[in-house]
């Protein structure tokens, strides 16, 4: 018990880092996903292919390989200098982006064609149709799947400890190597992750109720 209380300030620092990385990466990832989904559905073959290759490449490779590729691979070029935190953020963002792209694409395609026809017949152009009619409906429908992916991405951030990012997991490892109490420390770590994820899913179901399609 004492160990936990003594290590709380350090774990708190780690938790802040984890949330910081997660917050930036999930927003970036969502933007990447949105752009890729729109490219995938654009009436231009080349754009469809670019998006498809991106999505397939990310979904077809392990997260750790992506992380090493970005942190060690890209950093081997003299004109790239990503510290481990930013390499981590970029990896999580790109990885989440590929999955978001598929979620958003499916969400857009799930909206009845009649919606677009009604919007266009009123004189709205295609981007106004997307913005006011299709995306708002698609996002409501996608919320559970988006949350799910956000939770996966949050858990992925713990892998960044491998490249030395001082996140929650890494802080835990450091404390364990000093205190030799892996059972208590990793249990505490698990509880902390669980609480964040639980809060995330609460937020999601609140939003779902709030924006339920009538």
């Amino acid at each position: 018990m004492d160990t936990i209380i003594e290590s709380l300030p350090m774990l708190w620092e780690g938790l802040k880092m984890t949330l910081y990385i997660f917050a930036i990466a999930i927003v970036l990832g969502f933007l990447i996903g949105l752009i890729m989904a729109l490219l995938r559905l654009a009436p231009v073959k080349v754009l469809n292919w670019i998006a498809k290759i991106f999505v397939d490449a990310i979904r077809g490779t392990p997260f750790i390989v992506q992380l090493f590729f970005i942190y060690f691979g890209l950093n081997s070029f003299s004109w790239v200098s990503l510290d481990n935190v930013w390499a981590g953020i970029v990896t999580v963002a790109i990885n989440a982006g590929a999955y978001f792209a598929e979620i958003i694409r499916a969400g857009i395609q799930s909206i009845d064609k009649g919606q677009t026809e009604a919007a266009r017949s009123l004189g709205l152009n295609q981007s106004q149709n997307m913005r006011y009619i299709i995306l708002p409906q698609a996002f409501r429908r996608m919320l559970p799947t988006i949350t799910n992916q956000a939770i996966i991405s949050l858990k992925d951030t713990s892998l960044l400890s491998i490249i030395g990012v001082a996140d929650l997991t890494q802080r835990g490892r450091v404390i364990v190597s000093a205190t030799f109490e892996p059972f208590t420390i990793y249990l505490a770590l698990g509880v902390m992750y669980f609480i964040i994820i639980y809060l995330l899913s609460l937020l999601s179901s609140y939003l779902e109720r709030r924006f339920v399609l009538r």
């Binding site: 919606q115 266009r120 017949s121 006011y132």
Partner: protein, 242 residues
């Protein structure tokens, strides 16, 4: 000048030639009903008029503007052409009022306040003034379709296209919707109505087109077309539906 002029319209989906050669003109304030067997291309014809379908040949002019001429902005032309769909296609994430105000406001036709005022007026007109704050999901089919008509009218169109507006409705709802359409016709709206409601066509239409096999097989004033059809295919069709 005709409000709508169609000359030698053709429309194929791949190999399937749905509209082979249709020419007609609709004058301002004219009400034209389109009848024909299911699958004969009535919806396709209507959807070609506002370019929801790209036409394969011929020309369509709305208020004098060639809709496929790259010089004409189709989004501007569409503002003049209201469309009402069989399945309403209301925007379910918006209130009834928002359904009506979205296009006029976003397209810069009206300021929010003016658009709301106009929308409330239109809702009163279709008998749904009390439903402004409701969501489409809370309305009956007949109410939805009247909202859809009001939504199209909110853009002040010069023409209204109706694609079987009552065929998805329970019978007891049909009358209200047809009533709204009759009022519109009386006010002088130019209308093209694809319908199976022969009674409505007989009462309201200035002219009825019978479409089959990709052509206008026969067209006439309703009395003549219903009472004295000339073509065998018209006779066969009418004998089934009358």
């Amino acid at each position: 000048m005709s409000m709508i002029q169609v000359s030698n319209l053709k429309k194929s989906f791949g190999e399937l030639e749905v509209i082979k050669d249709i020419s007609t003109a609709v004058e301002p304030s004219e009400v034209v009903c389109v009848i024909g067997p299911s699958g004969s291309g009535k919806s396709t014809f209507l959807r070609c008029l506002n370019r929801l379908e790209e036409i394969s040949g011929g020309h369509v002019y709305i208020d004098g503007a060639d809709i496929t001429d790259p010089k004409n902005n189709i989004n501007v032309i569409r503002q003049k052409v209201g469309m009402v769909f069989q399945h309403f296609n209301l925007f379910p994430h918006m209130t009834v009022l928002e359904n009506l105000t979205l296009a006029p406001v976003k397209l810069g036709k009206l300021k929010q306040e003016a658009a709301e005022k106009k929308a409330l007026g239109l809702l009163d007109k279709v008998g749904l003034g009390a439903k402004a704050k409701a969501y489409p999901g809370e309305l009956s089919g007949g109410q939805k379709q009247r909202v859809a008509i009001a939504r199209a009218l909110a853009m002040d169109p010069k023409v209204m296209l109706f694609d079987e507006p009552t065929s998805a409705l329970d019978p007891e709802m049909v009358g209200d919707v047809l009533g709204v359409m009759k009022d519109l016709a009386k006010e002088g709206m130019t209308m093209i109505v694809v319908t199976h409601e022969m009674g409505f066509a007989a009462e309201v239409a200035d002219r009825v087109l019978f479409i089959d096999g990709g052509y206008i097989v026969e067209e006439n004033v309703p009395n003549e077309l219903f009472g004295n059809p000339q073509h065998v295919r018209t006779k066969a069709f009418l004998s089934k539906v009358l």
